[in-house]
């Protein structure tokens, strides 16, 4: 396959960026999107040009590092038949001769560091604010000491699969981090270990979410439509319910 790529190039956080057009020849349709970028980068390196900076780590869809916006949708979800991360998107999802736009996540809370790499540490600070259970565990409890119902366990596990990639923020017209925050809120709210800090957790995590400059949710659903882990949209309603309930509790007053 031969591909025309239009890629966002930006030297650093302070400089202006722009779209630059590249031709990529001899792309195999079995390559992942990142391997196609590797191919282009080798070419650029040989030519003595600066390779395109992009984030990646596991390349198997579990670390959440590799997100970029492809043809206007996060992780190229609009081109892929299934929910995917950028590293798991393959070139067979595109036709020969296609022109593909590649851009970094765009959100005030995710400033561009270089080219396609953005700073997602705002997510870390949301988790640091309350996305944990603070108990001294002591020795391992008996496996059956804390029974968790099947439905709640499933819901907790589903929510816990969030990999923190940031696609939800990138796709949201309000650049809200609500799906990410709601995934952690739901994960811990379903489990007995999460109960003691439940009301304080939502207050602290939402305060940090807002302070980091993410927008408010308007229940549009772009987030869940691009999420590689298919975090359910209804986790956001769970977060809302918990927040409203917490307003009537003394925790964190």
């Amino acid at each position: 396959m031969n591909i025309t790529l239009r890629v966002w190039r930006q030297a650093n956080a302070a400089s202006e960026g722009r779209m630059v057009t590249y031709q990529v020849q001899d792309v195999s349709e079995d390559m992942s999107f990142l391997e196609m970028l590797d191919l282009l980068n080798e070419d650029l390196t040989v030519k003595g040009e600066e390779p395109i900076a992009f984030d990646h780590d596991c390349r198997e869809g579990i670390c959440g590092m590799c997100g970029v916006v492809i043809n206007g949708t996060a992780h190229g979800r609009g081109n892929s038949p299934v929910a995917t991360t950028t590293c798991q998107l393959h070139m067979r999802s595109f036709s020969d001769g296609a022109t593909i736009d590649v851009e970094p996540w765009r959100a005030g809370a995710f400033p561009v560091i270089k080219d396609l790499v953005v700073d997602r540490s705002a997510f870390d600070r949301i988790i640091q604010a309350g996305g944990y259970v603070s108990v001294n565990t002591g020795s391992a409890p008996d496996a059956h000491a804390n029974a968790v119902g099947k439905l709640k366990a499933d819901r907790a596990f589903d929510a816990a699969t969030c990999i923190g990639c940031g696609a939800c923020v990138a796709a949201c017209p309000n650049h809200s981090g609500m799906l990410f925050t709601a995934a952690k809120i739901t994960h811990l709210a379903m489990l007995p270990q999460g109960q003691p800090e439940r009301h304080l957790r939502i207050k602290k995590m939402l305060a940090t979410h807002d302070a980091e400059g993410f927008g408010g949710c308007t229940n549009i659903g772009e987030c869940a439509a691009v999420c590689p882990k298919e975090i359910p949209f209804d986790t956001i309603s769970q977060l809302n319910r918990d927040l409203i309930a917490s307003l009537f509790k003394r925790d964190g007053k």
Partner: protein
Amino acid sequence: MSLVATTTLTPHQSAVRSTVALKALMAVTGLLMIGFLLMHMFGNSKMFLGEESFNHYAEWLKVEMLYPLLPKGWFIWIFRAVMAAAIVLHIYSALTLWRRAKLASPATYEAKRRLAQTYSARTMRWGGIILAGLLIFHLAQFTVHATLVAGPFTGSPYQMVLSEFKIWWMVALYALWMVTVCMHIRHGFWSAFATLGANTSPKAQVVLNACAWAVALLLYIGFMVMPVAVLFGWIG
């Protein structure tokens, strides 16, 4: 005024000022307005029962509603105060969240493609402003009687409504206005319930959206039959 929570606030104070609390305020006030619209639609249908019935209804609403629980004429002013507060709070939260969303997205994409957004959802903000502008015209027309087009108020609400909706472009204007209102409600109804925590599963999402469509369509048809009937001379 700072839009974001600062570190000097306690977690509880930031929760009260959070985007989610603002949204809940928007949801509650929005649902209150939808409730009002349903009542209003029911009231308008009294036009079909003739002059005496409609005038009596209008009089009852303004003077005798809840009498003797409340002194005569009190209800309408309490009611107006609640509605005015709902509208002001609704618009205040809408504008505050709009500004936040703008601040949250300094740059836009070169290529942008939406996978889930509906037209109603996309037009909530500008649509809301158009809707509010026409609401002002509507109140000036039928409540204050300042923008009556067909002639001055003669003391009969029934005659007033009749003569205004005998004008074809007035009916067209209202038909257009109700499109903006019902589109707003199409997304707003679902969104309000999701904000208040009722979207508990993918199935609930389908049900809430179906209800939103039903309420929006009911309101559109319910509000438009009367003006159309007047225009074509089926009433009066």
